[in-house]
Amino acid sequence: MLEIKDLHAGFDGNEIIKGISLSIKKGEIHAVMGPNGSGKSTMAKILSGHPAYQAMSGEILFDGKNLLEMDAEERSLAGIFMGFQYPVEVPGVNNAEFLRMAHNARRVKAGEEEIDPLDFDDLLSEKMKMLGMEKKYKERNLNDGFSGGEKKKNEILQMAILEPKLSILDETDSGLDIDALRVVSEGVNKLHNENNALILITHYQRLLDYIKPDFVHVLSNGKIVKSGDKSLALELESQGYDWVTTAN
């Protein structure tokens, strides 16, 4: 599904990602861990097409298509979803309205008609219930004044509405309280199936107790310095990053 080949990337000519190769197949869950500033969010932004970040060399193929030639809108419509580490606030734009716009953009792309607003409201209610979100978040403006945890839940709500093929969740767990972490993780697990894939960026092994990764990668200074299975996360938890970053 996703094929990253020797990618070098960054912003304004600063190289942050210094040669990454990664292959993700349908149905897989990959966890990406690594010290602060190692380039995890940059990696996610490159994948989702943030205009401020550019690839310098290398290749990214998504379902065989050259991702680097697509803009953010096209990537989203092709099935890539990014759950932001710091979701932006958009005052004045209603949350439910925004979700409906996003949902309709996909339908239009698929040559379908826009959804009936009442049907959408039902769909939204169902997904919100799954994530334990109160109805009032429909009325609120997009992330406007949301608490850190509420913003993260709202990201997963968008994921639930859009049903992407590949979701990149950037530290969705940070900011969630213990109960919310469980509810959100259960939601993510429900959305996961053999036809889609997940990249989980996280600092905490705890998340991986709920959402079980097939692979764990450690990113340090723009490179993947170690890959392994779930046990790698446990080792990191007990030993810290020095163990992998210096061993390299």
């Binding site: 401020a52 809108e73 990014m82 004045g92 734009v93 209603n94 309205e97 716009m101 996909r106």
Partner: protein
Amino acid sequence: MSDEQNSVSDILEDNTYKYGFTTDVESETFAKGLNEDVVRAISKKKNEPQFMLDFRLKAFAKWKTMKVPEWPNVHYPPIDFQNISYYSAPKQKKVLNSLDEVDPEVMRTFEKLGIPLDEQKKLANVAVDAVFDSVSVATTHKKKLMEVGIIFCSFSEALQEYPELIEEYIGSVVPVGDNYYAALNSAVFTDGSFVYIPPDTISPMEISTYFRINTEETGQFERTLIICAENSYVSYLEGCTAPQFDTNQLHAAVVELVTLENAEIKYSTVQNWYAGDKETGKGGIYNFVTKRGKCQGDGSKISWTQVETGSAITWKYPSCLLLGDNTTGEFYSVALTNGHMQADTGTKMIHVGKNTRSSIISKGISADYSSNSYRGQVKVGKNATNARNYSQCDSMLVGDKSSAHTFPYIETANSSVQVEHEAATSKISEDQLFYFESRGISRENAIEAVISGFCKEVFKQLPMEFAVEAQKLLTLKLEDSVG
């Protein structure tokens, strides 16, 4: 006296007059320049009653003693008032044979705004076929209005048909010497619109200058007078979203509204004059307008809604004079500036009567290199017991080279008054747009959503189709400016 008359007739009949300029005989345009004779000649040409001439002369005398206002936060080279021709017979706009002849930029706007083909033709002055005969649309509407006794006609026509109404009300809201440009307009205005709503009448439709289908170019100095008698209501629309070009750079209009007891006027404007070259700002229209409403009768209401998106320079403060007790004044405004545009706009709410209420909602959007100023005055007189005002002035910056300014002035002479002022500044950021795009929503729809969210309270005041068009127009103007 006879000397004077000679020169007036010189101007009228002979096309060469003492300043030595000549004009083209065909076009019926006065030679450039302004003096008392020109003012007399305009009045004579239009066959006006004596009171109108006296009004003009008084205004002209006043104007000569006045200076160009320097307080607005706008900058432009001095205007040479002697280099303008103050009268030209209604010029026919060039009739085009098909839409292919229309400027591609204008066509692009039409498409984006979703203006129906027939209307596009009308707006661009393409010869229309029987399907959409604009003139007959206009006449049908006029007839419908006449049936309930509503007068809606050109100012010139009104001067001939209803001189007593005009004499009673003209200058009663905006006195001849109110300000520099109002004085100039009062001296030399050539035409405009007149509306009279008789007592106990709800206008059966929105009245619009749009029905007054012009194949004529809009005058440089327009005059509008609307009188709404006891217990009546009218909603009036001015302008349109389609881009408007004009060979005249200076526009100085005057609009006067009067409401008698329990009457209500809702006046909405969408302005999209040519703003000049986007890079250099050259060639744009200067729009210096005086708009004021007088709530004369108790319990009456005047509400201004404006969406200002064009002109190189806008200088405009639709205001309400709340004379009667329990009167209400409202001002809802969206002013967008981009390129090198400059706008200094806002309102004045003058509370004179008891229990008077006013509210001001102003939304300024500035993009590119433009400058956008809100200037609002709330003045409460000593007899205006229990007067209330609420003002909210928000600015949105797009990019980092534009500027927004707010100048609120509050003056109260009565202690029972409540005045509230709120202001906020926000920004459309690249990160917000990326957020939308990363959810598969196009940049265009993203801008539209953010802008319509920002302007919600104002758009709500506009008639439905107008609101939709206005929203699209703002998006279109901002598309190139964000990011």
